[in-house]
């Protein structure tokens, strides 16, 4: 049995004796099978003391039957998941089933609760996923390298009159042509549009002296990259330059704080890292960051650990996360710089290598 399955199964027997795995990243993490859609519920895994099951319908029965170490339980219009689960609950005498409350929908619990008592799974798989193994790191690193190439390529495509959507499409096409896919819809925002951290690329045309914010990622072998850069078309004003340097400095200060903590063998509270960057920005008389400082990344673009004022966890070696401070003004625009870091025994190792100096095109 693989190490991941073993670790999950080690949690069985105390407060629950079986775990239902429903989210696509968790299913991929435990089976290496990435054939189920993340749009609709098409499968569940069930881990019990005695066996592992994959529940799916006729569309997937053939491929799912080949997932190593899992027994196929077939669902159908005449035998929904709840009914299929009932059979296994009886056979395996399951008393309490742990479910992923952040993923399972109300309508699903109505089925499940008819059959067995449930309790929260305490995000135990997400917690395992926060620390990456060498293969995972290799995949994220490869995705980051392709992201760096995207940035270099797209700079050459930024021209007067081009629309945000055209740039976003060019990014996506470039990544597809490399034989892989985006990890999320590219955010491309010109001028004041960049003040919305998650602006949807639209038909705004590029004008002279616009801010150009680019936030995009690659998904390679199921693993994601994520990067944000802001460039200036043509000239940055003094105010823009000051903001850019403040954002960059905020990121560097957060990195330095983590590095010193590692060197001094101090635990690193994620919330303290957030605070370092946030307080620095405020100290320069700019508004606080209207989002978290960073997020873990892997099979999901956003996963554990979170680096926010509310974070309770610590950053540990083997974790991969973004550090992405930003300063935004509604009528002016926003500047954000985002890179990914792997936490090693020497400190945060930068995984994205794209130029982060102020660029005037």
């Amino acid at each position: 049995m693989n190490r991941r399955l073993q670790e999950v199964k080690n949690s069985l027997g105390k407060t629950f004796d079986a775990i239902l795995v429903s989210s696509i990243p968790n299913i991929i993490y435990l089976t290496n099978f990435n054939g189920f859609s993340d749009k609709e519920r098409e499968a569940y895994l069930l881990l019990t003391k005695n066996a592992h099951y994959v529940f799916t319908d006729g569309r997937y029965a053939e491929v799912a039957s080949k997932i190593k170490g899992f027994k196929l339980v077939r669902t159908s219009p005449n035998r929904n998941f709840g009914q299929a689960l009932k059979g296994i609950v009886g056979k395996e005498k399951i008393k309490k089933l742990a479910i992923d409350e952040r993923d399972i929908k109300v309508s699903e619990t109505l089925q499940i609760k008819k059959v067995v008592k449930t309790c929260p799974d305490k995000n135990l798989i997400e917690k395992l996923r926060a620390t990456k193994d060498t293969t995972e790191i290799k995949n994220i690193q490869a995705a980051c390298r392709l992201g760096d190439q995207v940035f270099e390529y797209i700079l050459s495509e930024i021209k007067l009159g081009i629309t945000e959507k055209e740039i976003a499409n060019k990014i996506e096409i470039f990544i597809l042509q490399k034989g892989t896919q985006i990890s999320f819809k590219p955010v491309v925002a010109f001028a004041a549009n960049s003040s919305s951290p998650h602006h949807v690329a639209g038909n705004t045309k590029l004008k002279k002296n616009n801010i150009v914010l680019l936030d995009f990622g690659v998904k390679l072998n199921n693993y994601c990259s994520d990067m944000t850069r802001v460039v200036f078309f043509k000239k940055a004003t003094d105010k823009q330059k000051k903001i850019y340097q403040t954002v960059l400095e905020a990121q560097l200060k957060a990195v330095e704080f983590i590095k010193l903590s590692i060197i001094n063998h101090r635990p690193i509270n994620a919330s303290e890292v957030d605070k370092i960057a946030r307080e620095y920005i405020k100290s320069q008389d700019f508004p606080s960051i209207p989002h978290s400082l960073g997020h873990g990344i892997g099979l999901d673009v956003h996963e554990k650990p979170s680096l926010s004022p509310k974070s309770k966890g610590e950053l540990k070696q083997g974790m991969v996360f973004s550090i992405e401070p930003g300063i935004y003004f509604p009528d002016f625009g926003g500047i954000r710089i985002e890179d990914l870091f792997l936490l090693t025994q020497k400190g945060p190792q930068k995984m994205t290598s794209a130029n982060n100096k102020l660029i005037e095109l």
Copy 2:
């Protein structure tokens, strides 16, 4: 106020006095705003007797404040959705809140139920969405036309040795180059792979005499198309020809049944339409369809009405749905033909126009 909002609000006051709208298609349907991600929960709408609210965080506050007819309620790390909802529930004296149980997650209900009693929303917005207005039909028709072009283009790219993934990427790139996007990851399956109705395009290379199954869709102005074709590279066997004709005939029989029902002013039970195609396939000694015969389409690729053995609803004029019979054998492959139809007063009007004759490349 727009007609859609009015219709939803007409349902207030009997079993519930407010509705929480959470799914992205429902949010787009009621606001025309498509800026929220469908990956993570970033916003909710709340409709009460007195007002309409949009709940979102700092990343979207600026754009959300511009949604016509909705008041912005801002959430933050220090004021989660439950807390923000509490304020409105008190102010508006909401006694029972209808929620979308197929969309809302367990963790979200834990927040909501602290604040107000809930009940199912009875899919009332999904039911409205099933019948399309003229703008929606125009959008779906435009998406279908582009889908027809994709099919014509991709036929010229199918060559010995090309992989499934390469074809899938070419489909996606073609659609992006037209300035729009896919409605779902293209399914491209060669030979026996086509026996999995939702096969994920992989590195299988095209060989002589392979079945090539193509299932893809376009999303244009938020509206989806969906189409499946099977072509033969190079020659179809007699068995393949027989299956192809049977599948096509099953689709035609379903269409004919709907048309006759319309002409004779008979109600059209969706389950009966499914039965016509399903029974015909079985009557030819082939295995029953391992999925539904069809599904509604619009803002979502799969929405109401469903055409399956379990369907309870009727097909009505103005509905748009797929009819997609298929015959599958694990070691042989699968043949499915899928087209979209708009139900008019004259019968089902085909929206996809791609060649459906047996093609040997």
